[in-house]
């Protein structure tokens, strides 16, 4: 299983801080598509993705147990 974390406006839209999904073997891009479909969030094109707290490209393949974070454009500072 994989934990998917949501932040900022994505959290507001999903209504959850995190969900559990079985996405091992899928790419980051595929996970984004699944999340967009399953939780009715608007396109995730501008969101970056982190796997285990490190930014990951759309082609990267998820391993079982990986923690995935969907990261909207940041606005700290």
């Amino acid at each position: 299983m994989n934990k998917i974390l949501f932040f900022a406006h994505l959290r507001d839209e999903v209504g959850e801080e995190s969900v559990q999904l079985e996405v091992a073997g899928k790419t980051v891009a595929e996970v984004k598509a699944i999340v967009a479909e399953q939780y009715k969030v608007a396109k995730l094109d501008t969101a970056m993705t982190a796997i285990n707290e490190e930014f990951a490209p759309n082609e990267e393949v998820i391993q079982d147990g990986d923690v995935i974070a969907l990261i909207p454009p940041v606005s700290g500072g």
Partner: protein, 153 residues
Amino acid sequence: MYEIAKENIDIQSVIDKVVQREAGAITTFIGTVRELTKGKKTLFLVYEAYESMAVKKLEQIGTEIKERWEGAEVAITHRVGRLDITDIAVVIAVSTPHRADAYEANRYAIERIKEIVPIWKKEHWEDGQEWIGNQLETVSYPTGKPEEGDLNE
């Protein structure tokens, strides 16, 4: 050296972390909550962070700075939670042997924070609220949800 803080940031304690006998210059950047942005009056802000990753990314910025500016020491604390006008959102302290480096390295730190550190701010006004979309303050989600136009940029 790199922290996410839930309470007021004490500036001096961030500066103290970078004091070194080899330094002739310390610069600090203190990001504060401004009342007016493009003529709109902010009531307060809420900052949210992906804390564990944010600390790692702040550390990464420190490492990048030390590679680029020899002898630099860096400390960064970023606030989360609710902040009122003039409250401190972030303190960056950089010490270097010579002053030009201290300015440049500090500036680099704030620009990198706005690029790679997973922290988000939600602005609250009298007539609404929104998550601010990116570090350059050019993309925002006016309704609290991104709209087609925003996301296609």
